[in-house]
Amino acid sequence: MPAGYPVTAYAMCNALGARTRDAIAALSEGRSGLEPPPFELPFETVAGAVPGELPALPAAVSGWDARVTRIALIALAELSEPVSRAIRRWGKDRVAVVLGTSTGGLESTERAYAAHHQSGRLPAWYDYDLQHPFHAFADLVAHVTGAGGPTYVVSTACSTSTKVLGSAMRLIGAGVADAVLVGGVDSLTQTTLRGFHCLSVLAPKRCKPFSRDREGMNIGEGAALLLVEREGEGSVRVLGVGETSDAHHMSSPDPAGAGARAAMEQALAQAGLDAAAVDYVNAHGTGTKRNDAAEAQAIASVFGARVPVVSTKAFTGHQLGAAGATEAVFSIVAIEQSWIPTSLGADPVEPDLGIAIQLARTERKCRVVVSNSFGFGGSNASVVLGAA
């Protein structure tokens, strides 16, 4: 029996496009989606917003209407047929929903709080229980799809939606589910932009991961959803997920990259592969001085300078809880279509990183890709995806 489980469908929306094919095209063409933020801030930066007007939720589920649920349902619309097929095949109670977010419905609460600050009253449209808590959008996705298996949210900051792939592998492996709809969703919020600014890690211009001239990160929003099944038609399989902790600092990575290295090694071990089998590493690559240096050290310690390394954060911004799933989709596209995107903004590369940063889109046959996600709290996750 082949290792891991097939990804039988995927979809995403982010600053590169509201449809999967548009986002892939922009990635291939090297076009960034970063623009001035869609709301006023007392400092300079750019951000990755999902383009266009986000459609309001249908009347039957309008109570859940929030920016984060609108983004989730844009991506979900592309998966309605595959998820329905999985429910018909496995039964609704055998299809689980495990989604990730970092901010959930915080954007709605920000607007409601601002209205309360002005008038002393929360606005009539605000329903805390349907719009703010993390589980609300996962419940909405389960409700809309009809999936009736275990439904929960993983929220471990920026490692979130790589960890959902680990949960999916375990749920299927233990016989709890036969299909798991996984992914990550986050929307832009004032809190995250101002918060990263107060930590002095927000870049005033477009971020430059792994560049000598990098000044920090940009924030983005989006959703990426993947359907993982026990069996099925999928050109790429989830082969292994490594999940570790730094035990070092709440917001700074271990400078030696030990936890990150352990996550990659665990994922490879679960996949039953050596580092030599890996054709491409999608780095977390936020563009902060500390993250990129620590991650480069970890990647170099596992792979040396042989494997092409790319950060896609200068395309989409850092989508926090949606970053891992989005970059898992980018990694799947690399395997399916045999090309690696450019590590936008990396030129001139920081000297002495010891890894092979990819400075141009490259045609390359990829059979195995590693994708990294690291977050606050020292939470690390790496996934190995491989051609079926």
Partner: protein
């Protein structure tokens, strides 16, 4: 899946006759003062639960896997940041980096030097059930032991209905095999949805806390009762997550 053993159970505030003697906030002495300073009620509840079960079972906090669960997460910190935003407009770095759902996971791992698996989940009324599921599945897939820590702090104003409930934290130390101290309190198996299970009814002021869904399981384990325990409080729908408590 095999049954998992319950090596320890922790609760804050203390239930029963000890409840009135409890301090206003859990001591959370697992966190050294430099990490504990400025932490939320939620983080203290989590740290207290982890410390309680480790003290009972001898869990190795430097290596045990951890699953944290909260329906509303670091909501006190989220609203405090909005107050700052509408004050001088500047957020606090210390508050911001403690605003993530996995704040307690990070702080406890730092305090214990634990580089192992840790996650933080949310599932509303089903948070307790889904955290137990994640832990049981981890053990099924090879983990030797997992601490499940559940906590929710009161909602701050001006959120609707604030504070809704009193703070509550619960923790379980689950193991694949008999714990180092040689005894298990109970075994758990058969986590499932049951369409006929009645909702658990719980007394105020803890009863409205989402973590209260785990109190019937705490009670059954502590009292040595065996049988089916419902892991969800009231609410819409008739299907509820349940688990079997059996002899270890």
């Amino acid at each position: 899946m095999k049954a998992v053993l319950v090596a320890a159970v922790g609760v804050w505030p203390p239930l029963g006759p000890d409840a009135t003697a409890a301090p206003a906030a859990p001591p959370a002495e697992l966190l050294p003062s430099r990490l504990r300073r400025g932490t939320s009620m939620l983080t203290r509840l989590f740290a207290e639960g982890v410390a309680q079960v480790a003290a009972q079972s001898g869990a190795d906090l430097a290596s045990v896997a951890t699953v944290y669960g909260s329906a509303n997460g670091e909501i006190e910190t989220a609203i405090a940041q909005l107050q700052m935003m509408h004050g001088d407009g500047v957020l606090s770095p210390a508050r911001f980096k403690s605003s993530v759902h996995n704040t307690a996971s990070g702080l406890v791992s730092i305090a214990a030097g634990n580089r192992a698996f840790s996650t933080a989940l949310a599932a509303g009324e089903r948070t307790a059930a889904m955290c137990l599921l994640e832990a049981i599945v981890l053990i099924d897939r090879g983990a030797t032991d997992v601490i499940v820590a559940l906590a929710d702090e009161p909602l701050p104003a001006p959120l609707p209905g604030a504070p809704r409930y009193a703070p509550l934290g619960v923790a379980f130390h689950l193991r694949a095999e008999t714990p180092p101290n040689g005894r298990a309190l109970a075994a758990l198996r058969g986590l499932r949805v049951d369409a006929t299970a009645p909702a658990a009814t719980l007394a105020e002021p803890l009863g409205n806390n989402p973590v209260a869904a785990a109190l019937p399981l705490v009670d059954a384990i502590r009292q040595g009762r065996r049988g089916t325990v419902v892991l969800e409080r009231g609410g819409a729908g008739t299907s509820r997550w349940c688990i079997e408590v059996v002899d270890p």
